[in-house]
């Protein structure tokens, strides 16, 4: 209790004016910190949106654990982790009839993730792929269509692996013909073997900025687990840095947004969610300066320019959506096993 009070106080100190009128406190990913996305909402409603960026669902839930009800109004969360926030009681029910999910790409409405016991707690706002990014001047693009060729001897030392175990292990599973939804303790050994092969060929295991830097500087020619979110912001200056979805398929990521339970500004919070999933908000979020990704709402296509849609591969989405799988959503026990396997592989 003492710890909770102290940490809660610290968290409060970090957000000036938390809970004050005309202010909205949002836990977000970096793509929401783009002024081009937030300022139109602030100006329209005459409010200030306080943004707190976080990495990792665990960190966000810990922050909510340490906060008082009402400290936070809106939360962006990994689509596969919505259930964790709902279990912890941190997400409020959304009025589904006020959300434009009818305009969404059907595959990313993701009711299985955003709806719990018949109640909608979050709505998908953006999606993309953890697949293969590469430098088309340095590698044979045809090789990138086969996952086994990507981490073959031919590209020894020329690839980097994205530093997040769930999508990368999902890709390893797909390479072995294991659907991501069927990853379990019984097939981790097989996945671990592929992961080891991948790791043995890799020059580095890198986060977003490091992977972008490695690709841009020629340190590596391939990023396993990359995708449009990695190379789209470089598309204008470095068109040779591109991405593809191999024949075996790839992993699909999705992020959701919801209203935090106990928000002191529930109406304003809902307005923010509605703005983010509106065609205008979606177009701005899709092309955020932090990272690009596909908007969940297909009507954003009416606002995005042809050049932007080309970078996002708008016309290829039906094909991509049909060939990709949502990345693994392990329960707590399997998550520990997967994380252990990942760390063991990195330490090899």
């Amino acid at each position: 209790m003492i710890l909770r009070t102290i940490l809660g106080g610290t968290a409060l100190a970090c957000i000036a004016g938390a809970g004050a009128a005309q202010e909205l406190n949002a836990l977000v990913w970096c793509d929401h910190t783009d002024d081009a996305l937030i300022e139109p909402f602030e100006q329209e409603h005459g409010v200030t949106v306080n943004l707190r960026e976080y990495e990792g669902t665990g960190a966000a839930l810990a922050l909510l654990d340490q906060s008082r009800p009402g400290d936070w109004d809106v939360m962006v969360i990994d689509g596969i982790d919505v259930f964790r926030a709902v279990e912890a009681g941190y997400l409020a029910e959304l009025p589904v009839d006020e959300l434009p999910t009818g305009d969404f790409f059907p595959e990313v409405v993701m009711e299985a993730n955003n709806v719990v016991d018949g109640k909608t707690y979050a709505v998908t706002e953006k999606f993309g792929y953890n697949t293969i990014s590469f430098n088309s001047d340095k590698v044979d693009p045809a090789d990138m269509d086969d996952l086994a060729a990507v981490w073959s001897e031919k590209y020894d030392g020329r690839l980097s692996i994205y530093d997040y175990y769930l999508p990368v292990m999902g890709l390893a599973a797909i390479a072995e013909g294991i659907p991501t939804a069927e990853i379990g303790a019984d097939n981790l050994e097989t996945i671990g073997g592929t992961l080891s092969d991948m790791r043995a060929r890799a020059a580095s295991v890198a986060g977003v900025v490091a992977a972008q830097t490695a690709l841009a500087t020629g340190e590596v020619d391939i990023v396993v687990g990359g995708g449009e979110w990695l190379t789209a912001v470089l598309a204008e200056e470095r068109p040779e840095l591109t991405w593809t979805i191999p024949e075996q398929g790839a992993v699909r990521w999705a992020q959701s947004i919801g209203v935090v339970e106990g928000s002191e500004n529930p109406d304003l919070a809902l307005e923010f969610v509605k703005y983010i999933v509106s065609p205008e908000g979606q177009a701005r979020l899709a092309t955020s300066s932090c990272f690009w990704g596909m908007p969940a709402n297909a009507r954003a296509g009416e606002i995005l320019t042809d050049e932007q849609k080309a970078v996002l591969r708008w016309d290829d989405q039906p094909d991509y959506l049909s060939r990709t799988q949502l990345y693994p959503a392990p329960d707590a026990d399997l998550d520990i096993e997967m994380q252990d396997l990942w760390l063991e592989t990195l330490q090899q």
């Binding site: 810990a62 490695a214 340190e219 990195l346």
Partner: protein, 280 residues
């Protein structure tokens, strides 16, 4: 009695500060390390299971070894490079230029630590300055892998800590009276003997103090190995971050943090005889 009260009054701010920002967080971390996670629920208790994981999971133990290897290498290299630099500034640079020389020595401190690490990544990359120079000089036909290695991590660390150690050793050297050297020379000692039997022992407190600071800062650093090491091997702070990021496993992270503190304590005990914080 009044004197006692006044004494408590004087020490109270420091005492409260220490209790609030060291003892209490330390106690919380200690208690947390004995707790467990049941799913996402924190279960307080007196379990040693988090410490047992160190023995059970090879990657955790390996992280401790990697952290120690990197830290000891960095500390040794930093001392070896900083001592001659501090010596040159203290004894070879004219007094009026010493302030400028020190300023130049610590100039890299003025840039962001993260920016400096990324700068090193570019310098060491396959198409970076170092590889271009090696190829240009005909020393290698193909680029050498320098970035995303332990060498890169150590380079980034040493660049930073040489500056720190130069300051502590320089301060120590400047406090030495020149009469010590003169006396040793008068007694027939040559330059090497003077250094070995007079100067070095007298500057040991400055060296050990700087080395201890290097050890403490290096073993707990997350940024440099994360950016320059390329996750080709993991240190303890990197493993701690993984535990917190998705699963929020604060109990295991706390146990690992206490292991780091135990290593720092051992380093302190090893150098306690020579540690002189007043030489900073």
């Amino acid at each position: 009695m009044t004197g006692t009260r006044a004494g408590w009054g004087f020490v109270a701010p420091a005492l409260i500060w220490t209790l609030a920002f060291f003892v209490l967080p330390f106690a919380v971390m200690g208690a947390m390390s004995l707790a467990t996670l049941d799913g996402r629920t924190l279960v307080w208790g007196l379990s040693l299971s988090n410490y047992a994981e160190l023995a059970e999971k090879a990657y955790l133990w390996r992280a401790v070894v990697v952290s120690l290897e990197i830290t000891l290498t960095v500390t040794a290299l930093s001392v070896l490079l900083a001592y001659p630099l501090a010596w040159i500034i203290a004894y070879r640079v004219p007094e009026r230029w010493q302030r400028l020389a020190l300023l130049l020595a610590i100039l890299p401190f003025w840039t962001s630590y993260v920016v400096r690490s990324y700068a090193w990544l570019l310098v060491l990359s396959r198409e970076g300055v170092v590889n271009q120079a090696l190829i240009g000089l005909g020393l290698t036909a193909e680029p050498v892998t320098l970035a995303n290695t332990r060498l890169a991590t150590v380079t980034g660390f040493v660049h930073f800590f040489v500056m720190l150690l130069t300051l502590t050793i320089y301060a120590n050297l400047r406090q030495l009276s020149p009469n010590y050297r003169r006396a040793a020379m008068d007694l027939g000692a040559n330059a090497v003997q003077t250094f070995r039997h007079v100067i070095l022992p007298l500057t040991l407190p400055g060296i050990v103090t700087g080395a201890f600071l290097t050890f403490v800062l290096c073993i707990g650093d997350y940024i440099t190995p994360q950016i320059l090491g390329g996750n080709t091997e993991l240190t303890v702070p990197q493993v701690i971050m993984v535990q917190l990021g998705r699963r929020a496993d604060f109990p295991l992270a706390s146990a690992l943090a206490l292991v780091l503190m135990a290593l720092v304590t051992l380093a302190y005990l090893a150098g306690a005889r020579w540690l002189r914080v007043d030489r900073l």
